[in-house]
């Protein structure tokens, strides 16, 4: 085969039919994948009740959109292969005309892009961690001790007047730090709509913090298998206005004084 012959036959790689087809499918499916995967996930997560949850939802959006072109490319290449001529029966198709064993350019590009995406995910994650953990050291925060016990949560309002309850009341827009522990086995304290979670370990105290920014009733669930009634180890958190909160604390301390 002379140089001229191959030269005449070869078209630049990006002008080849299957490359064009792949590019077309890629351009079409990437936004679809990005949009559908983002919306389905974000809608399932519901409305956020804290800044942290809002930023977690945002993270899901960013990651999904960043992954969409990669998923779209794999999808487009697969689709192009599937749409090409296929062979049935008991004997194999003739071997490919040219056996592509390697393409250093494709390898380098692929690894470089995945490294960049990885770096991007890392930076986005680290920024979010910094932001979320800053609330742990907020001096103005109120403090609540959370105790897990098979299979109930109880809350001690250290800032108040020794009030203890099994329903969580929080004033809106006030930072709160939870000191979480357990008296028996491991549990995990999860305020679903606020996007925070920390394990309750027997013998140790762990911390998490959040600022609820929405008045309403939200869910506390246990996220670590803790025995027989793990599924039912859940209760509600009531986020109320500061005035309502103060009134509730007062009523509680009176109640406690009466029963003491």
């Amino acid at each position: 085969m002379s140089l001229n012959e191959t030269g005449a036959k070869q078209t630049t790689w990006w002008k080849k039919k299957d490359v064009k087809q792949t590019a077309l499918i890629w351009v079409i499916v990437t936004p679809i994948i990005g949009y559908v995967a983002t919306e389905v996930q974000v809608r399932s997560m519901g409305a956020p009740a804290s800044e942290i949850m809002a930023s977690t939802i945002n993270l899901m959006r960013i990651f999904t959109w960043a992954a969409a072109p990669v998923a779209g490319l794999v999808f487009a290449m697969s689709a192009t292969v599937l749409l090409s001529k296929s062979f049935y029966g008991d004997t194999p198709p003739p071997e490919a005309e040219i056996g592509y064993r390697n393409s250093p350019r494709a390898n380098a590009l692929w690894v470089a892009v995945s490294a960049l995406l990885c770096l991007f995910a890392l930076v986005v994650g680290m920024v979010a961690v910094q932001k979320d953990s800053a609330s742990l050291t907020d001096a103005t925060a109120m403090e609540i001790k959370v105790t897990g016990q098979q299979w109930v949560w109880s809350y001690d309002y250290t800032g108040g007047s020794g009030v203890r309850s099994d329903v969580l009341y929080l004033p809106v827009n006030k930072p709160v730090v939870f000191h979480v522990t357990s008296v028996d086995v491991k549990h995990s304290f999860w305020i679903v709509q606020m996007g925070i979670k920390i394990d309750a370990n027997p013998g140790y105290i762990t911390e998490t913090a959040v600022t609820p920014n929405k008045i309403g009733v939200f869910d506390v669930r246990c996220a670590e298998l803790c025995g027989l009634l793990h599924a039912y180890m859940q209760n509600k958190v009531h986020v109320v206005s500061q005035a309502d909160y103060d009134a509730w604390i007062k009523a509680q301390s009176k109640l406690e004084a009466a029963t003491a």
Binding site: V74, E95, Y100, N102, N107, S188, D219, E224, L225, G227
Partner: protein
């Protein structure tokens, strides 16, 4: 069983004086195991002192249960004949050639499948049967879980039983997926693929198989005495207050860990020392890399798991406090030990399944494997990094919060070598000539499922996102996408692909397609539904749930039933094809690896003359450089 060579002559082994080694088989093993367990149980009941006032309530029962389980284990292994070799060696009368041939199953026909046979092909078939049986048990438990969760009116299974089912399903499936590729195909196919006559240590090979059979009993026994109600992770201190069935988990893991270590040493040695002449590392098929990476990862991982369970057993039975914070221990210690095994373990499962599909992709596209070197780097990279990521399971545990970011770094780095494996597969498919078969379709299914499993894994590796997702159904859906959607898909494709060599018959193509579509479609329905309830806030391992999760759970249960139906079709196809499938030619797929150069049925020592290798197995198409 079509690999049978010669029918045993009627008189060969019916002589009145049979040597001990000829009498032992699975039935003597079961008998001796049960007898030892019962005897030790009676003795322990008689002689173990009653608990004193301050001892924990379960102590005495735990000791009795553990001792009887150990007795079962020793009795079974003696009864199967595992100790004959070492015993004879100690006595200075090592086995003769004839005895070794007998051990390899020469002239034994079907009987060799029921005894301590050293021929790697017999062990491979035994592994296949054991894997199918374990999957069946795990599958039934999965269907019980989904049935219970499919009913919004509330479960009909008692919470205690439900927790036991969840825990048993988890550990049983983990074990099944760990052995599903390296067991049947690593043992049967791998030695032939590298041009060897057997494994490096044939007796250790038989040992690793029978250890798994011995390990199965404690877990079934455990189900009868309270079950494993702690999830497959068996976190302490929950595990130390769990019912007696927890001892079944402990024994099971200890025995299984020994089996994995033995198999790992054996397979690694075989591949390093016994490749055919001329099979350089560059010419070694990628499946071999996958198998070696898998078992080599298990080598450091499983001793840690073993140790964690010994300590668990001591906490339960003799009142130590390794994991008891009230007495100087720590539950975090257990979590660390567990995940030091637990994360490498997911790649122990995944890598060989992906490598098997990499082996099949060139065959079914008539294209060379794209960028062999990148595939090797990818496998090595995943293996290396996977040892450094374990604490991403502990972001929310409160242990060392300052280490969360380094662990996020190592975890997300894994996406780079994983991406390499994607490129290798997609590059192999690119411009290939598709030979439409079920294993070929499985390559596409893997790309799809592994993409979803991989991307959701990146969300989970992100600390703030994990603060929301950890412990939810999202995690459950994620690892089912990787271990089942990617791993099991690869293993089933490997079964269809290598079936003609293992049984001499073709796997029923039509049924394999029917099962493929049912399982894959059911899988998407079930686990996308599960992702969504997880995102909406449903914790995992729950027996009941809030009303908002009704629809999602019903969808998931529906999908699960479709998977079950597809799996039953596959099981029927397996049995049907094995019994009366079409006879296979020597190389039905026209593949270029060595295992297809041996005759059907395969002779006892595979090759008359050991092959010499001059190229790699991917020389499809005209070469361009």
């Amino acid at each position: 069983m079509t690999t049978t060579l010669n029918r045993p002559s009627a008189s060969a082994h019916s002589a009145p004086k049979r040597a001990l080694i000829e009498r032992l088989n699975i039935f003597t093993a079961l008998a001796l195991g049960v007898i030892s367990a019962v005897v030790v149980w009676r003795l322990a009941l008689q002689f173990l002192p009653q608990d004193s006032e301050e001892a924990i309530f379960f102590n005495r029962e735990d000791k009795i249960t553990l001792l009887s389980m150990i007795a079962w284990f020793i009795g079974f292994m003696v009864g199967i004949g595992a100790l004959i070799g070492p015993f004879r060696w100690v006595m200075g009368k090592d086995l003769s050639h004839d005895e070794n041939m007998f051990y390899a199953g020469k002239d034994l026909g079907v009987k060799r499948y029921f005894r301590y046979t050293t021929d790697h092909k017999v062990v491979g078939i035994q592994y296949l049967v054991v894997t199918v049986v374990i999957f069946f048990i795990g599958g039934v438990l999965a269907m019980l879980i989904r049935t219970n969760l499919g009913n919004p009116e509330g479960g009909w299974i008692h919470p205690q039983a439900y927790n036991a089912i969840v825990g048993t399903h988890g550990i049983v499936m983990i074990v099944a997926t760990i052995i599903m590729v390296t067991g049947p195909f690593g043992n049967f196919i791998m030695p032939i693929m590298i041009g060897a006559r057997d494994m490096a240590f044939p007796r250790l090979n038989a040992l690793s198989l029978w250890l798994i059979v011995a390990a199965a009993a404690p877990i079934l026994w455990g189900l009868a005495i309270g079950g494993i109600s702690t999830g497959w992770t068996a976190y302490n201190p929950l595990a130390s207050q769990a019912p007696l069935g927890q001892n079944g988990y402990i024994m099971f893991i200890c025995i299984f860990a020994i089996s994995t270590m033995v198999a790992g040493a054996n397979i690694t040695t075989t591949v390093i020392r016994m490749r055919a002449k001329g099979m350089t590392w560059n010419r070694t098929p990628i499946f071999i890399y996958g198998v070696v990476a898998s078992v080599a990862l298990a080598l450091p991982a499983f001793p840690v798991f073993f140790l964690s369970q010994i300590m668990s057993a001591m906490d339960r039975a003799i009142g130590t406090s390794f994991y008891d914070a009230q007495h100087g221990g720590s539950g975090w210690l257990y979590e660390n030990l567990f995940w030091l095994m637990g994360h490498p373990e997911v790649y122990v499962i995944l890598i060989p399944a992906v490598a098997a599909l990499m082996e099949m992709a060139p065959v079914f596209t008539r294209n060379p494997l794209f960028s062999f070197n990148l595939a090797v780097i990818g496998i090595a990279g995943i293996s290396g990094l996977s040892a450094l990521v374990w604490a991403h399971h502990m972001y929310m545990s409160g242990w060392a919060p300052l280490l969360n970011i380094p662990f996020m770094l190592t975890t997300e780095l894994i996406s780079i070598p994983t991406g390499m494996l994607f490129l290798v597969l997609i590059g192999t498919l690119w411009r290939g000539r598709l030979w439409v078969t079920m294993p070929m379709a499985s390559v596409f299914a893997l790309l799809w499922n592994f993409m979803i499993g991989g991307v959701t894994g990146i969300y989970l590796s992100d600390i703030p996102a994990d603060a929301f997702l950890h412990g939810s159904m999202y995690v459950t859906a994620h690892f089912h996408y990787t271990l089942m959607g990617a791993g099991l898909t690869g293993a089933i494709a490997a079964l269809v692909f290598w079936f003609p060599k293992m049984t001499g018959r073709i796997f029923d193509a039509k049924l394999s397609w029917i099962s493929f579509w049912m399982v894959q479609i059911g899988f998407q329905i079930a686990f996308i539904g599960m992702f969504l309830v997880g995102l909406a806030g449903q914790p995992r391992r729950v027996e009941g749930y809030a009303e908002t999760f009704n629809t999602g759970n019903m969808v998931t249960t529906g999908g699960a039933y479709l998977i079950m139906a597809g799996m039953l079709v596959l099981l029927y196809a397996l049995i049907h094809s094995w019994m009366n499938g079409e006879k296979a030619s020597m190389n039905p797929w026209h593949s270029k690896t060595l295992e297809w150069t041996v005759a059907n049925p395969i002779p006892l020592e595979n090759f008359d003359v050991l092959p010499t290798v001059t190229t790699d197995a991917y020389g499809y198409g005209k070469e361009i450089r």
